[in-house]
């Protein structure tokens, strides 16, 4: 179709068919006011402020919805238009509280701005004004519907983008309102407090409570950080005034989360200023903690470590690092532990992620999610299984919904009726713990109906025959019995997944762990490889982790059997490389992993532990047992921002800086390395983890020479092949996805494009484990809402000191 020529305010322009007059005007740099227009939502045309005059049209035309027509002549500022806009504003103002002086929205309010621009100082219409009660009883935000101008953006975002569907237009005529059903308070609705309505409201109807009295928009500075909660690594603008974070809002253009957030990103930063912060080094003396100087603390630590290692050997020391700390923090941690002669370094998240990691490693050779978050929106079919992204990775849930809106087939396999079921094409409410059986069943149907991608299987994989044999008994009938599903539904879903041009699988590492572990991940990998859905855009297998830097911490080598970049200890060349780089001898003995330590009933060789940013005693099951084990240690150092349950057992507590207080990089589930800026200064005696480690290393006699985290990263890049081409200079707002092998490399969006990390993808037949299913049923009864809560393993140390703990379904971390 040919381009369309039109004239706007005397200027000619050619645009593509389907372009609206508003878009065409913007291309010419002509601004037209809008309230209800949002590029993410379907054309609205409600507020009528954007009306323009089109010659020969009977009435004024809403430019945000009207398509540009050939030879159209448009006037955006004619007298008729200006009059209409003035009238419109006057009408809005007539029904709007005029408390701009104290309104929190002053300075960023569109109504105020347009009234200023169109010189509407007051309204000529004096009559009834709305007098609705505030919706004010929730912890997060104030809903003052008297200020609402009914643009409908909040409704659109809530119903379509987020899918929570908590609000809609109610009643009609002059008393039209936007509210939850029956005008219930918002906390009694299906609101998930993602903040999208707040961030998009053009006026002051929705105000986050954290901002009350804190400052005006022009008094704050915005700093771009990476969210410290889940592994999507959303970018957030923290608003800072007088060295205090007073608010958070989305950035405009993040490649990870666009301008979307969830309750954690929007509201979860307040723990940074919690009064529970540890603000000075502490040493336990006679059973109580006493504040000491850094010198005293470090001296004490060095003495004890030297003593214990001297008596019991290098392997009597173990380090537990944090999947929430930055790459620099983590890299230096394992460097320090290894420099002290042992490979006993791991992260506690092992118990909720390790087997799914292992599963992917075995199948693909790489445990990272294969594709990019943004790509999910463009897929043709998506299978959501083993988790509820709305709880664990909300922004990913938004993308799945977008894919469904764009016509993709959505298959949801979850025992609970999760929100996605509302927009799903296939709903498979299987019994908990039977996921492996279902996935095998889908694969069985695909093979028996000849829907598998033979070319892909032949060229890119191995082990197909063995898989085929192993799948023989998973007929639809057999699987239907186990899962409690209908045979036809299973077949339909399988056909739909297999026949799509690109199909993605969205799961959740932690939940996978609990509902089939390594087996489930392998079964999903089988499914993806069977249909050729690995190594191409908008397809793939998404198994995102729980914590923000779990990927990064693993990349850095927080693992007992591999070094930075997953390079194997057993390999002498590797050990030599690191020995040279670090100036120490690397032990060739693989270390203990966290599970081995915590599940051990006998005496272990570990006598001293250094725990950074992790709280094993505060999370999940067997908390008392873990506490006992730690108490048995001769020496325990805990480095954290709060006095957690674990820290309270320590001999020394070192105060660390929170995410908002330090510069550093984090690697999200799609392998994107992102730089997070410091928004505020930490309290006086508090330092970033990496700085503490450098200081401690010096005290221990190592010569580390880093001017700042940038230098640390440069060292990482020199040793980790996947990070080789990344450096702080290159980490602008887009981040870079590894593998990124040189300065010119733009990063890798999609893994396994030409070949798998291990060469050929490996099929492995997986058996369904009925015992696991039984355990899941038990578990579901004992846990929170769905039993498929992905934060089973997390200690809530951040979230319970944040307002987000008031939101029951917000998932911990």
């Amino acid at each position: 179709m040919s381009a369309i020529k039109l004239t706007i305010d005397g200027q000619e322009i050619e645009v593509a068919p389907g372009t609206t007059i508003l878009e065409a005007a913007r291309q010419l740099g002509i601004e037209i006011p809008t309230f209800c227009h949002d590029p993410e939502l379907p054309p609205n045309g409600a507020c009528r402020i954007c009306v323009v005059e089109v010659e020969k049209a009977r009435a004024l035309v809403a430019s945000c919805v009207a398509p540009a027509g050939p030879d159209m002549v448009v006037h955006t500022k004619s007298e008729r238009v200006i009059n209409a806009r003035k009238n419109n504003l006057s009408l809005m103002l007539a029904n709007h509280p005029l408390d701009c002086i104290t309104c929190e929205k002053t300075g960023s309010c569109k109504l105020q701005d347009y009234c200023y621009e169109y010189e509407v100082a007051s309204s000529e219409f004096v009559g009834e004004v709305k007098d609705l009660p505030y919706d004010d009883t929730n912890e997060f935000f104030l809903r003052d519907m008297n200020k609402c101008i009914l643009c409908g953006i909040c409704v659109g975002k809530c119903q379509q983008v987020v899918g929570a569907g908590a609000i809609d237009f109610t009643k009609r005529g002059f008393v039209t309102n936007v509210s939850p059903g029956f005008e219930d308070p918002i906390e009694d609705s299906s609101c998930v407090f993602c903040g999208m309505c707040i961030d998009n409201c053009p006026v002051g109807a929705l105000i986050p409570k954290y901002i009350f009295g804190k400052g005006r928009p022009w008094q704050t500075e915005a700093t771009r950080v990476v969210c410290p909660y889940c592994s999507l690594g959303c970018n957030i603008n923290l608003h800072v005034k007088d060295n205090e974070v007073i608010g958070a809002a989305p950035v405009e253009n993040s490649p990870v989360n666009r301008d979307h957030l969830c309750v954690k990103g929007k509201f979860g930063w307040d723990f940074v200023h919690s009064r529970d912060r540890v603000t000075a080094p502490l040493v336990k003396t006679n059973g109580t903690f006493v504040e000491v100087t850094w010198e005293e603390a470090l001296d004490y630590i060095v003495d004890n470590i030297r003593d214990i290692q001297g008596r019991y050997g290098a392997d009597s020391l173990m380090g537990l690092s944090s999947p929430k700390a930055s790459n620099e923090d983590n890299y230096l941690f394992q460097k320090l532990i290894r420099s002290l002669g042992t490979n006993n370094v791991d992260s506690y998240t092992r118990h909720c992620h390790a087997s799914s990691v292992d599963g992917m490693m075995e199948a693909f050779g790489n445990a990272a999610t294969t594709n990019t978050i943004e790509e999910v929106a463009g897929t043709d079919a998506v299978l959501v299984i083993g988790g509820n992204p709305a709880e664990s990775h909300p922004v990913l849930d938004y993308r799945v919904r977008e894919a469904a809106r764009n016509g993709a087939s959505l298959i949801v396999a979850n025992p609970d009726m999760i929100g996605l079921v509302d927009v799903a094409d296939y709903d498979l409410p299987l019994k908990p713990g039977t996921e492996v059986a279902l996935v095998n069943g889908l694969a069985n149907v695909i093979i028996s109906e000849g829907l598998h991608d033979e070319a892909f299987i032949k060229e890119r994989t191995e082990g197909f025959d063995q898989l085929k044999k192993g799948l023989e008994k998973y007929t639809p009938q057999y699987v239907a019995e186990i899962t409690g599903l209908d045979q036809e539904d299973i077949k339909d879903a399988a056909r739909r997944y297999a026949s799509a041009e690109k199909a993605a699988i969205v799961s959740d590492a932690a939940v996978c762990e609990q509902s089939g572990g390594e087996g489930l991940v392998k079964a999903l990998a089988n499914l993806a490889m069977l249909t050729g859905n690995v190594g191409k855009e908008s397809a793939g297998l998404y198994v995102p982790y729980g914590e923000n830097n779990l990927q990064g911490s693993a990349d850095m080598g927080i693992l007992p059997n591999v070094l930075t970049g997953y390079q194997h200890l057993k390999d002498k060349e590797v050990r030599d490389k690191f020995s040279e780089a670090w100036g120490v001898k690397i032990s060739d003995k693989p270390g203990l992993n966290a599970s081995e330590f915590f599940e051990n009933d006998k005496d272990t060789a570990v006598k001293a532990m250094y725990i950074m940013g992790e709280n094993p005693v505060g999370c999940g099951e067997d908390q008392e047992k873990k506490a006992e084990l730690l108490k048995k240690l001769d020496f325990l150092v805990v480095q954290d921002i709060f006095m957690t349950e674990t820290a309270s057992l320590a001999d020394v507590v070192l105060p660390a800086a929170a995410f908002a207080e330090k510069l550093g990089t984090y690697t999200n589930s799609e392998r994107r390395v992102q730089l997070s800026q410091p928004a505020v200064e930490p309290p006086d005696e508090v330092f970033p983890d990496w700085a503490i480690l450098v200081e401690l290393a010096e005290w221990l006699g190592f010569e580390w020479d880093y001017a700042g985290p940038e230098d640390v990263f440069a060292e990482i890049a020199s040793l980790n092949h996947d990070y080789k081409g990344i450096g702080y200079r290159r980490l602008s707002e887009q981040g870079l996805q590894w593998p990124c092998t040189d300065e010119k490399d733009q990063g890798t969006k999609v893994l396994h494009q030409d070949s798998f990390s291990r060469g050929k993808g490996l099929f492995s037949a997986v058996e369904y484990d009925p015992e696991l299913a039984a355990k899941r049923e038990e578990h579901a009864a004992a846990c929170c809402t769905s039993g498929y809560h992905s934060c089973q393993c997390l200690s809530e140390s951040m979230s319970k000191r944040s307002v987000i703990s008031a939101f029951k379904n917000g998932c911990c971390v």
Binding site: R48, L60, M92, F125, G127, G173
Partner: protein, 605 residues
């Protein structure tokens, strides 16, 4: 074979006048005389003359009995059925006839009417598909099934049928758009929401001849390439919905709905979707949203329903009356016949619901081109109680008033538009000099304000502010600048509102200001409502010279505000008077005056 056929009006109008009880009484009387089996009793559709209901028409005698009560049935049966003589006192009587009129051809109400769309209403049993078929039903469908879809569109276009819902868009052209839209799935939607207060044209078709709508939709389906239809009928029409359901069941049984209709490669599934009390759902895009289960709010156009309609598929939306015309047009030779009636630009007939201060209220179907004057005076019988004509409101809350000097205008789409009025869906409310035009505008505006969906600022907020101004004016608190404000606000709303409701709701205000500005000015500047409607703006006074002391007014007054001796001039006690109007209704001397507040000081007694 029955000796006689007794058609009792069973449409909503006569039902509320008690035609059910009349039918029961008739049944009883016939049974009493043991002659019930000789006659066929049918609760039929509306014969149109609601003013004189309940109505019974007897065939083949061709007698039209009206204003019936149950207690009349004894005499009716004895005299007419047993005795074979007409009961004169039950015939139509009125100032427009010299002697009681026997049948349609001598009743002036029917003189200028032409029954196209209402051809079966009151003549057949609406719950009988066989009768519909006997009257030529489903022949147009059969013929259409043998034609090419585009040929059907062209034939309807050439016949000159224009949308009867108010917009007047050429139906054949509209069908052509949907026909050309790509895709295998398309819909036909019938807008049977009929939200205009006082309009019941579509209701009569649905209650009296539901198969004509089904046939029209089937032909539309064939012409547009659609295989499924929705009838969106307002829930306030339970009888219509019942009749439609029965008709659909029957058509399905007869193989006229469903798959492989009459053996042709044509399927059509019919659904009924009930409305839920929202006037805005008569607007086509809001109607589509409602069918989809969403809140009834209009959507921006383009895209138009012919491209993106219900469930995102190409859709043709037509009004009931439009579709009921289709079987007449598409039957053999029908297009020619149809085009013989009406004017050059507006072919065919139009059904009007005559209401208000006219003597003959009811439903009438007249050829396009008839003048408004003819409708009001010849069909309508002129103004009740000998009062003067003031204006007629055409088009309900979207329409404008037509004053005396425009009565000569012919009724067709183009003439009315030129005069700043619209035909609308067919509601005609006639007003006499006791109607206050400001109050009328206020009435329609308060309706649209309540029914506004609330989506766009001009309609939601603007109508409220206009209404507040009108409220003030009718309460005596009008300000001189109010008329300019109303005018500019009204134009602003018309210019920028999102949908037809918003764009047309200022019309009653604009047209009443245009033709009755002095009345507004009198309210504002002199605080006087000369029609005697706006209570704070007038008082009743009895003219002592013409009052004959009959005491009718004093006896009617519910608050004892009139004093006076028998045969002596009476007087209104202003402090007690609530201006309810009971006295003025009763006065046969026409001596109760509507005067300005404060004028009692001028009148000595």
């Amino acid at each position: 074979m029955y000796e006689k056929h007794i058609m009792i009006c069973g449409a909503t109008g006569c039902l509320s006048s008690g035609s059910n009880q009349v039918a029961e009484a008739l049944n009883e009387e016939l049974e009493k005389h043991g002659i019930k089996d000789k006659y066929r009793l049918v609760m039929g559709g509306c014969p149109g003359f609601c003013e004189v209901g309940p109505i019974i028409v007897i065939f083949p005698d061709e007698v039209f009995y009206c204003r019936l009560k149950p207690k009349d049935m004894a005499e009716l049966v004895e005299t007419h059925f047993v005795g074979g003589e007409i009961v004169e006192r039950l015939l139509y009587k009125g100032p427009d006839v010299d002697a009681p009129a026997r049948f349609y051809d001598s009743i002036p109400f029917y003189s200028k009417q032409k029954f196209n769309v209402l051809r079966n209403s009151g003549v057949i049993d609406p719950e009988s598909i066989d009768e519909y078929i006997m009257r030529g039903g489903y022949r147009a469908l059969k013929r259409a099934l043998e034609m090419e879809p585009q040929a059907i569109c062209d034939e309807v276009k050439d016949a000159g049928l224009r949308g009867r819902g108010g917009a007047g868009f050429p139906t054949g052209v509209k069908w052509g758009f949907t026909n050309k839209a790509p895709g295998p799935k398309k819909y036909i939607v019938c807008n049977a929401d009929e939200g205009d207060p006082g309009a019941f044209m579509d209701r009569s078709i649905l209650e009296g001849d539901p198969h004509s709508l089904l046939e029209g939709m089937l032909v539309a389906g064939k012409a547009c390439g659609a295989d499924e239809g929705y009838i969106y009928c307002r829930a306030e029409y339970p009888l219509a919905i019942k009749r439609l359901r029965i008709a659909i069941e029957q058509a399905e049984e007869y193989g006229l709905l469903g798959e492989n209709i009459l053996g042709y490669d044509f399927n059509f599934k019919m659904n009924i979707k009930e409305g839920a009390g929202a006037f805005v759902c008569g607007e086509e895009t809001a109607l589509l949203a409602s069918i989809e289960g969403k809140r009834g709010m209009p959507r921006p156009r383009p895209p138009f329903p012919a491209q993106v309609g219900v469930f995102g598929k190409p859709t043709t939306i037509n009004n009931v009356e439009t579709l009921a015309n289709i079987p007449l047009i598409v039957k053999e030779g029908g297009a020619e016949e149809f085009a013989k009636v009406g004017t050059e630009g507006s072919k065919g007939t139009k059904v009007f619901a005559l209401a208000g201060k006219v003597r003959n209220t009811g439903l009438c179907e007249v050829p396009m081109g008839i003048t408004i004057e003819e409708v009001i005076y010849d069909v309508g019988g002129g103004i009740k109680a000998g009062r003067d004509f003031k204006a007629v409101q055409a088009g309900g809350p979207s329409g404008g008033c037509i004053p005396k000097d425009l009565l000569h205008l012919p009724i067709d789409y183009d003439s009315l538009t030129k005069a700043g009025a619209i035909m609308g869906s067919g509601g005609l409310v006639v007003m006499d000099d006791r109607t206050c035009m400001v109050d009328l505008a206020k009435y329609f505006l308060s309706f649209t304000q309540k029914e506004s969906c609330g989506k766009c600022t001009p309609c939601r907020e603007g109508t409220k502010r206009m209404l507040e101004i009108l409220d003030r004016i009718t309460e005596g608190e009008g300000k001189p600048e109010d008329l300019d404000t109303l005018d500019s606000l009204a134009h602003s709303i018309k210019d920028s509102a999102l949908c037809g409701l918003g764009q047309t709701c200022p019309n009653p205000v604009l047209s009443t200001i245009r033709y009755f500005r002095d009345e507004y000015e009198e309210h504002i500047n002199e605080g006087f409502c000369n029609a005697g409607i706006c209570k704070p703006l007038f008082i009743y006074q009895i003219d002592a010279e013409s009052c004959n002391g009959c005491t009718a007014c004093a006896r009617a007054c519910p608050v004892d505000a009139i004093k006076g001796e028998k045969k002596e001039p009476h007087e209104v006690i202003q402090e007690l008077c609530t201006r309810c109007g009971s006295c003025i209704d009763k006065c046969r001397q026409d001596c109760i005056m509507i005067t300005r507040v404060g004028s009692e000081a001028d009148v000595g007694n």
